[in-house]
């Protein structure tokens, strides 16, 4: 065999090995993680496609159809798969729209809070002078219970969608900032940073093209996982009545709505409550699997 074919065989073997051990592969070999991923994809599709797949109008109330149990078929033949709520609105449609709101609010929080977090984290890693003050600030944020942020903002701005998003964004900053700083610190020690500087690139270009793009994937993974936390916190605040007000469909305030009928008609509160639980559970299972896959030290 010639050297060339040997090298080619080597490359092929390496490629196969890499594919076998790729993060996606490892995740799919872990049944709970694969299940969680599948569930989240379905939930996300349901949320995005809510206006097209919802069987009924989520806001159309009807006194004749109040508090029907799951599986109810109305006299004119319409199926209410998950029953109806206290105002006769279809639960399944409200859940689909609620998913949209709950996940959307979480996503806004991760985007805004995460963006600020990335900025703080990378600046702390790039400019060593800023490291201590910025990270102290993050420590203070991290140590403060997020529900208190929610309470305070709802008190000052009035309960609603806006104050909820602001509170969740603030709560999302510290985790992402720490991850970004950790990832950026590793990249800072790479030779290409030095090379870039030697080429005469400015700070802005170095941070944007070299630093951020190289820790992008790590940050993205953790940002996705933070989404689970933001959804959890958002639903709790919304349950307390500090988020969007009715008739807005959001899983937390739907649960609070159904609380009054808990004894006689448990499905009104339980269905949205369990939906939140399963979404957050899926994010956490996926997160644990990802962390194991990314950290070879724990994989044994």
């Amino acid at each position: 065999m010639t050297d060339a074919t040997l090298a080619e065989a080597d490359a092929r073997a390496l490629e196969a090995l890499r594919r076998k051990n790729s993060i996606t592969r490892r995740l799919l070999r872990d049944p709970p993680a694969a299940l969680a991923l599948g569930f989240l994809v379905v939930v996300l599709l349901g949320a995005v496609l809510a206006p097209w797949v919802a069987p009924h109008d989520p806001f159309a109330s009807s006194m004749r159809l109040r508090l029907k149990a799951p599986g109810f078929v109305s006299p004119d033949g319409a199926l209410y798969l998950l029953g109806t709520d206290a105002q006769g609105r279809d639960m399944l449609s409200r859940i689909l729209y609620g998913l949209r709101a709950t996940i959307g609010i979480g996503a806004i929080a991760v985007l805004c809070g995460g963006g600020l977090g990335v900025l703080i984290g990378t600046l702390a890693a790039y400019y060593r002078r800023l490291d201590t003050p910025l990270m102290r600030f993050i420590d203070v944020l991290l140590s403060f219970p997020s529900i208190l942020f929610g309470l305070a903002l709802a008190a000052v701005l009035g309960p609603g969608l806006f104050s909820l998003c602001v509170a969740l964004s603030i709560a999302a900053i510290p985790t992402i900032a720490r991850v970004a700083r950790g990832a950026a610190t590793v990249v800072m020690q790479q030779d290409y940073m030095e090379a870039g500087r030697a080429l005469g690139l400015g700070d802005g270009a170095l941070i944007w093209r070299y630093l951020l793009l190289n820790c992008g994937s790590t940050i993205l993974i953790y940002a996705t996982l933070q989404l689970g936390q933001s959804i959890l916190l958002g639903s709790v605040l919304s349950f307390l009545g500090l988020g969007p007000q009715p008739p807005f469909a959001e899983l937390g305030n739907m649960t609070a709505d159904g609380r009054k009928f808990l004894q006689a008609f448990p499905h009104v509160a339980t269905i949205p409550a369990l939906t939140i639980f399963f979404i957050v559970l899926a994010f956490n299972v996926l997160g644990d699997a990802l962390r194991d896959a990314l950290d070879p030290k724990l994989r044994q």
Partner: protein, 323 residues
């Protein structure tokens, strides 16, 4: 020996001072929010104080007396002075001093948190140790599955399920506080709220205990203990678990602050007359002075709890103070 203890005391003291300095920005932020809340109040306090028959001049005089004609930053200074004298204003609904309203709520909140910790910490440690001992077996898997589920469960879901299946079945009361804890009604009333609050606390404690015990089980001193013929029980309890507890206590300390957030939800669900319920109630009924007072109390207790945990931690692990 004597100088040693004094050195340790100095370390603890330095730790307290350091923590207090970190708390100052948080405290100032909270005070600013409290001040802003009182600015949102739609009515002019001077007009209310002067009464309906007062002339414009009298209202002006009262405005001056209250400092309402000064610039905002000066008013903020006056507000700080009032807060330092424990004057938090009056409720807009009951017209009672905010401080009086708050005082009645502190006890129940403290009681609830204590009742939660009393069962949740031992339960978490026992579960985590069991999981570590039977690593990889089904006991471990079941315990860890429960712990992940516990972390993922919004606290109100636990509450709803307990109210529906335990409270709804008439097994335990789920409305309000039943009096002091030493009476049987008082004790019965706190069971469900304490279970709810504790349910979200067990998961992290069990997880951390498992990781930490797994680490100490592989340590040299555990192998030595086994080699000298100690029983498995002794090895786990006296050698592995005892050394594994420090990270667990750190985690508990970190989580206690978040327990305060959980208490807000639990109190609201069970009509438990605590600070959290008062805060939520005041915000939804726009009683700004009470909301301001309740949020401030929650924030200050959070800072205080953290301080106590830090000092306790420094005391428990002498290496911390020396850093």
């Amino acid at each position: 020996m004597k100088t040693d203890t004094r050195g340790a005391m100095d370390d603890v003291f330095a730790l307290i001072v350091q923590r207090l300095i970190i708390s100052i920005p948080v405290l100032l932020g909270v005070l600013l929010i409290g001040f802003l809340l009182l600015q949102v109040v739609p009515t002019d306090p001077a007009i209310i104080l002067a009464g309906p028959t007062a002339s414009q001049a009298e209202v002006e005089a009262i405005r001056q007396q209250l400092g309402l004609d000064r610039p905002l930053w000066e008013q903020f200074g006056l507000y700080l002075l009032r807060v330092l004298q424990f004057d938090l204003g009056r409720s807009m609904i009951s017209n009672r001093p905010v401080l009086d309203e708050l005082q009645a709520t502190l006890g129940p909140t403290f009681e609830l948190m204590l009742a939660c910790l009393v069962w949740a910490i031992p339960a978490g440690i026992v579960l985590g140790t069991q999981a570590a001992r039977r690593r990889g077996q089904w006991t471990d898997r079941v315990i860890m599955a429960f712990s992940v589920a516990g972390v993922s469960m919004p606290i109100f879901v636990v509450g709803l399920l307990l109210i529906q299946y335990v409270g709804g079945a008439g097994l335990l009361p789920f409305q309000g506080r039943g009096g002091p804890l030493w009476t049987s009604t008082g004790l019965l009333h706190i069971i469900l709220p304490a279970l709810t609050l504790g349910a979200v606390f067990i998961g992290p404690v069990a997880r951390m205990t498992r990781t930490s015990v797994l680490e100490t089980l592989g340590a040299d001193y555990v192998r030595t203990a086994r080699a000298k013929g100690a029983s498995e029980r002794q090895v786990v309890l006296r050698h592995a678990l005892r050394n594994a507890l420090i990270p667990v206590i750190t985690l508990i300390g970190l989580q206690i602050g978040f327990l305060l957030g959980g208490a807000v939800v639990t109190e609201t669900m069970y009509s438990w007359p605590g600070v959290g319920r008062m805060a939520v109630g005041a915000i939804s009924s726009s009683d700004f002075p009470v909301a301001q007072g309740a949020i401030m109390v929650l924030a200050v207790s959070f800072i205080a709890i953290n301080l106590v945990v830090d000092v306790f931690y420094g005391y428990l692990d002498p290496r911390i103070g020396q850093r």
